[in-house]
Symmetry: C3
Subunit: 128 residues, 3 copies
C-alpha cells in the first residue's frame, strides 16, 4: 500500500500566535522556547520562572523534564551562570540532563536575563 | 526480518559544498540556514530576501512555510526586531508559526543584518 | 495492535552529569555540544580538539562525521573564522557537510574560543 503522508497535518502546535507557537511537536520531537513571563525579576527568579514554565509546556504536550534532548541557554551576563546552574541542576531529574550549549548574547528586551530553546522527546501512541 | 538501516544513506542534502549544505533532511526533519544573498541591502530587504530564500529551500526539499517547527533568529541590532517581525508575521501562514528564539549576536560578515536557522517537517512518502 | 511507547525509556544519554549529557539520542537523532577540553590552546588547536572530540562522541553513539545534520558554530572572535573553516573543510567527508549557522558570541569561560552544537543522524537497527 502506498501512503503519502502530509507533514503539515501531523504537526501539533501549542498556542500558535502570528509570531510564534509556544511549542511544536512532530515525529515525537518537540521544540519550545521560554523567556520569563515577568522580566522585572532578578536572575534567580527569572530562572525559576523559566524552569516552571518549561514544566508547564512539557506537561501540555505530553512530555516532562525527564525527556529533554537539548537545551540552548542564552545568558545576557556570564556572571549569572553560577546562579543559573544551581537552579538548573536542582531542577533536572537525576540522570536525565540534556545536551546543552550555553552562550552569552544580548536579548531583545534588556530586562530579559536569559532565554532557553529546548528540544524534547514526546510520548507517542502508535497504532499498528 | 532484520533490517539494519544506515542513517548516512538516508540523509538527503541540498547542494552540499565543502563548508555546508543548503539543507539536510533525515527522518522527516529538515535543517537549513539562510542569510541574505545580497548583503548590501537594508534590514527590510535582507529580511525579505531570507524569507523568499527559505521558501525556495523548503520547496526544493518537499516542504513549505506551513511546516516550520523551529526558527532561531540571529539579529545584529535589537532595534531591527520590529522591522523583522512585521515581515515575519506577514509571511507566515495563519496558525503555522514555529517555535522561535530571537537573540542579538554579531555575524561574520558585518554587512549581514540577520541569519535564521530553521527546522522544518518534510512530507514523507511511505511504502508499506 | 495498540502500542503506547514511552519516549523517556527510548532516550539514550552519553555520560549524563547533573548539568548536561555528552550526547542524547532519540528517534535516530543525536544532539551533542563540544568545547575544547584544553582551553589554554589557540584557535587552531581548540578547533582540532573539538573536531576530534566530535568524532569520539559520534563513534560512541553509533554515528560518524558523515552523518551530521546541523552545526551551530559559536565563535568568540570573527577573525578566527578563516582558521576554523580551514580545519572544518579538511575534516568533513566530501559531500557530507551539514546545514550550519556561524555566529559571534561570548562564551562563559573567556579562554574558550569556540563551541559547537551538533545534530546528527544515528544508525538505527530495526526489527520488523
Amino acid at each position: 500500500m502506498d501512503i503519502k503522508r502530509s507533514s503539515q497535518e501531523k504537526i501539533k502546535r501549542l498556542r500558535p500566535t502570528p509570531r510564534w507557537s509556544d511549542a511544536t511537536v512532530f515525529n515525537g520531537i518537540a521544540h519550545f522556547v521560554e523567556v520569563a513571563a515577568d522580566t522585572e525579576q532578578d536572575m534567580s527568579n527569572q530562572t525559576q520562572q523559566i524552569l516552571a514554565q518549561a514544566e508547564t509546556t512539557l506537561a501540555a504536550i505530553g512530555s516532562s523534564k525527564a525527556s529533554l534532548l537539548s537545551a540552548t541557554i542564552y545568558l545576557t551576563h556570564a556572571e549569572n551562570a553560577a546562579t543559573f546552574n544551581a537552579h538548573w541542576e536542582a531542577w533536572l531529574p537525576a540522570g536525565c540532563a540534556p545536551s546543552r550549549a550555553c552562550v552569552k548574547v544580548e536579548l531583545l528586551d534588556p530586562k530579559m536575563l536569559l532565554e532557553i530553546a529546548f528540544v524534547a522527546a514526546v510520548n507517542e501512541v502508535k497504532d499498528d
